[in-house]
């Protein structure tokens, strides 16, 4: 087979269906990544227009442009769209598109999950957009503090749009994070050990782990606040044992890491592009990785610095002030690595480099004002003033938008196969850079002069007139620059000006694909033994196209790739991906129906939607697998590997583990909330305690034992060639017992609407019951699979996943009962 014939065969196998309708069923990362990016930039545009409205309003005193009700919606939606619908999805899109190419493989670990994430983002974003168009958008500020956002002060539907829409969108962040983690750990080119991974992959690995542990507190907070608003469960109402500070903790437990979730991928972009622009390699790769890891974890210990003015004791403030100054250290390690890289190379001032310099200048200033507000007395002065908004834009625009624009100019030729023809970019950069600094430098001073944030108007006597006008003029210069970028991208798409292959002379593998990359990325997979394989072997692309790597011979209509050992990158399994399907969009739509039902308060639809989700999820997994053993499959280069159905740790196992990391963080946050209310909230102790029951404990004990023993027996039996159904049935019974025990526990608990204590017990119990149902569904699914002949002693992968979930479901049941009964029993 020659290179052209191979290309045709592989394209037939990997492409989405023809025409625009293909978008609805595509699962290929090339499509999904671009869909994410286009949608994210659309929201950047919308949020940018809102920013212009803000600056128009603030340009003059006594502005009559928008009244406070509308202004509140405008700034809330500006912040919300920028953070949740632009920044995070843009990162996801970029990583979905680039990671498989950089890692030298053909797709991410779970193609359908990527598409599902996109559609959740699409529908969830649409919900928020509709609210904006109808003038009923969220208006409580992007961090939605209760009691302002509680039912009393925000009776309208505005807040519900935020809580439900954002939670819906966050499904895409969690699913992308699971997908990235498993892909980076297991789906790389053969030979690519951890130390040979492209630096961007390291940053994305760290970021993904942060998403898995950073987003759950926000999701929990949103669920609790929505429960309070819909059903009157008083988590944040002080009179009934709640505490509005709980929201602030949960929000910033998410919110601070969020800033680094946005910054780290951008730093990954800088660490990738900067060495190329300087024709050298990154200085101190290991130290940069260590710094990124340190930064990620330290950033989880900072959240209270957003709450310095809430009356927390001094010692608590000192902890978080110290931790906040500490993060400057790993950040500086990275900055010095970048400066050193420039030093050792020969930097050229090409367009991506300009944006990187813009990033440097801006981000360093943002970091310094960050250290300023980390100092408690200073923060007491500037909290909630324009100084803070100025600081956050230096960090977010400097730390994210500039690198993103660098990435845009750097990778656009790869994605389109074309080069820039007109030279608008340089002018655009100048406008953006000048416009940005005029806008936000001015806002620092406005803040120091006492201008509060989120005010819709001010009077001439305040003395802020000139400074605001300057800021607004800067804002419009900035907008002009951004529009020029848009125009340039459009021109780029219209003018056919072919780009030479690997035009930046980069060393990473994405430049070894054809420009524009085919749906399958690589005609055959490379064997890697250098961090920059393309620099080590410039002939690599031609050899891969000739099929000289792994999997060079297309096999039937199968989408094939390899999974490797985490540390060494030795090939381990042969992977077959599912093909195009409408399941992701349908599942996302049904998921959306659930959120819509809650939003419009047609509550009876919600359980129906849940059932729909369960049915579709069943179908989702059912279509995988096969009914006969495959044995070892030849993957080329003289190597044969087992398929993923015939291993102990299939991709589904890895995905489950990381999904459960997120799940456990949510549960941990709930326990934190319980403990927080108990110790801090003024309305405690509650008027009535739960009555511990020996029967409940016994029933749960049996359930927990069965849900651990059952899967164990099932795996054992299957491996020994006998029927695993008995073990599976035990597991099913175990889940049923747990669910029954927890229902019984809740029936004996105080009313959930009377006091936050009862409300928390309800959520704890509900969480356990939900998991029991999920585990039961899994066991039932496996019983059906066994009967349909999908398992065998060799095809053991599916059954291998149940023990993980069984243990988790059992474990949380124990913790829930302890949390409910132990304090009562002790006192």
């Amino acid at each position: 087979m020659n290179a052209l014939a191979r290309h045709r065969r592989l394209t037939a196998i990997w492409s989405s269906r023809p025409g625009w309708k293909g978008l609805f069923s595509t699962v290929n990362h090339n499509d999904v990544g671009l869909m994410f990016l286009v949608t994210a930039f659309f929201y950047f545009f919308v949020a940018g227009v809102l920013a212009m409205l803000i600056r128009a309003q603030l340009a003059t005193p006594h502005s009559a442009f928008a009244g406070p009700e509308i202004y509140n919606q405008i700034f809330t939606m500006h912040g919300t769209l920028m953070m949740f619908l632009f920044a995070i999805p843009a990162i996801e899109g970029m990583a979905i598109y680039l990671l498989p190419k950089m890692l030298g493989t053909r797709d991410l670990a779970y193609p359908r999950l990527g598409a599902y994430g996109y559609w959740c983002y699409f529908f969830g974003g649409a919900m928020l957009l509709v609210s904006l168009l109808l003038g009923i958008a969220p208006d409580g500020g992007w961090f939605m503090y209760p009691p302002l956002t509680g039912k009393v002060y925000s009776p309208g539907i505005n807040t519900d749009f935020w809580l439900l829409g954002i939670t819906f969108v966050e499904i895409s962040a969690i699913s992308a994070a699971v997908e990235f983690t498993v892909s980076i750990l297991r789906y790389r080119a053969p030979g690519m050990s951890l130390s040979k991974m492209p630096i961007f992959a390291w940053y994305m690995l760290v970021t993904s782990l942060m998403i898995l542990t950073g987003f759950p507190p926000l999701i929990l907070g949103s669920i609790l606040l929505e429960l309070e608003r819909t059903f009157g469960l008083p988590f944040f109402q002080v009179e009934l044992g709640g505490d509005s500070l709980l929201w602030q903790h949960l929000f910033w437990l998410f919110g601070h890491p969020e800033v680094y979730i946005i910054f780290l991928p951008a730093a990954g972009v800088v660490s990738t592009i900067l060495p190329v622009m300087a024709s050298t390699t990154l200085l101190g790769y290991r130290y940069v990785v260590a710094a990124a890891v340190a930064l990620a974890i330290l950033s989880f210990g900072l959240w209270v610095h957003h709450m310095f003015t809430t009356g927390i004791p001094h010692m608590g403030l000192a902890f978080f002030s110290a931790a906040s100054t500490l993060v400057a250290v790993p950040t500086s390690v990275q900055v010095f690595a970048w400066i050193g890289t420039l030093w050792k190379g020969r930097p050229q001032l090409r367009l991506p480099m300009l944006h990187i310099l813009g990033f440097f200048a801006t981000f360093v200033i943002g970091g310094l004002t960050g250290v300023m507000v980390a100092v408690v007395p200073f923060d007491w002065q500037v909290h909630d003033t324009a100084f803070v908004t100025a600081h956050l834009h230096y960090v977010l625009f400097g730390g994210f938008v500039f690198p993103l624009l660098a990435a845009l100019y750097y990778w656009l030729p790869l994605a389109t196969g074309r080069a820039r023809f007109f030279r608008l970019g340089e002018v655009a950069f100048a406008l953006i850079f000048i416009g940005f600094h005029v806008t936000f430098l001015a806002m620092h001073f406005a803040g120091l002069m006492g201008q509060r944030r989120r005010i819709s108007t001010y009077s001439p006597e305040d003395g802020w007139t000139a400074i605001n006008l300057i800021s607004s003029i800067g804002g419009f210069i900035l907008a002009f620059g951004l529009v020029m970028v848009l125009i340039e991208v459009v021109l780029h798409l219209v003018v056919r000006h072919r780009a030479p292959r690997n035009l930046w002379r980069a060393g990473t593998l994405e430049w070894a694909t054809a420009m524009l990359p085919p749906a399958y990325n690589f005609a055959s997979l490379p064997e890697v033994d250098d961090r920059e394989p393309l620099r080590a072997d410039p002939d690599l692309p031609a050899r891969l196209a000739r099929g000289e790597g792994y999997l060079g011979e297309p096999n039937g209509m199968m989408r094939e790739t390899l999974a490797v050992d985490v540390a060494s990158g030795t090939p381990e399994h042969h992977v077959i991906y599912p093909g195009n399907t409408h399941l992701p969009i349908v599942l996302a739509a049904v998921t959306g129906l659930f959120f819509l039902a809650l939003l419009l308060k047609v509550l009876w639809v919600a359980p129906l939607a849940m059932i729909g989700v369960a049915v579709l999820a069943w179908r989702w997994v059912w279509v995988l697998g096969r009914r006969e053993d495959a044995g070892a499959v030849s993957v080329g280069c003289g190597l044969s590997l087992p398929t993923i159905a015939e291993v102990d740790r299939p991709p589904g196992w890895w995905g489950s583990v990381f999904l459960l990391v997120a799940d456990a963080t949510l549960f941990g946050s709930l326990l934190f909330g319980y403990a927080f209310l108990w110790t801090i909230a003024p309305g405690w102790p509650p008027p009535e305690w739960i009555a511990p029951s020996a029967i409940v404990v016994a029933l749960a004990g049996v359930g927990v034992a069965l849900s651990i023993i059952g899967p164990f027996f099932a795996t054992r039996a299957n491996a020994g060639g006998s029927n695993p159904a008995v073990g599976l049935a035990l597991s099913l019974a175990g889940s049923a017992a747990i669910a029954a025990a927890l229902v019984a526990m809740l029936m004996m608990a105080p009313s959930p609407t009377g006091h936050a204590y009862g409300a928390t017990l309800l959520v704890l119990g509900g969480y356990g019951i939900l998991h029991a149902i999920v585990v039961a569904l899994m066991a039932a699914f496996l019983i059906a699979r066994v009967r349909a002949g999908y398992t065998s002693p060799r095809r053991r992968a599916e059954i291998a996943i149940l023990p993980v979930w069984g243990a988790y479901g059992g474990g949380i049941a124990v913790v829930i009962l302890l949390a409910a009964y132990l304090p009562v029993a002790l006192s």
Partner: protein, 106 residues
């Protein structure tokens, strides 16, 4: 997975200790324990002890990461995991020293 653990363990343990001490401080202020030790209030003593314990754990982790048996053998993972170990120690000292110096509950 083992390499990932080596890289992450020390800073994650710092995070756990940091949150735990913060939580402990909240509990001690909500329900102040009785008694004194060498003239110091019990709450202060408990906090200082937990600081010492956290520091001890970090030092132990660093020693483990340096050791032949548990430390990484590959150069790359070794550097990165030792970096993590160092971050754990420094972060513990820097973020928890307020338990010795600041007023307890004001």
């Amino acid at each position: 997975m083992m390499d990932l653990l080596r890289i992450l363990v020390a800073p994650v343990v710092w995070l756990a200790a940091f949150s735990a001490v913060y939580g402990l401080q909240g509990v001690l202020c909500a329900a102040p324990p009785e008694g004194t030790v060498a003239g110091l209030p019990m709450a202060r003593v408990l906090l200082a002890l937990s600081f010492a314990a956290a520091l001890l754990v970090q030092v132990a982790l660093l020693v483990l990461l340096l050791s032949r048996r548990f430390g990484a053998s590959r150069g790359f993972v070794r550097t990165v995991s030792l970096g993590g170990g160092l971050v754990g120690v420094v972060a513990t000292v820097w973020t928890l020293f307020p338990v010795l110096a600041l007023p307890l509950c004001q």
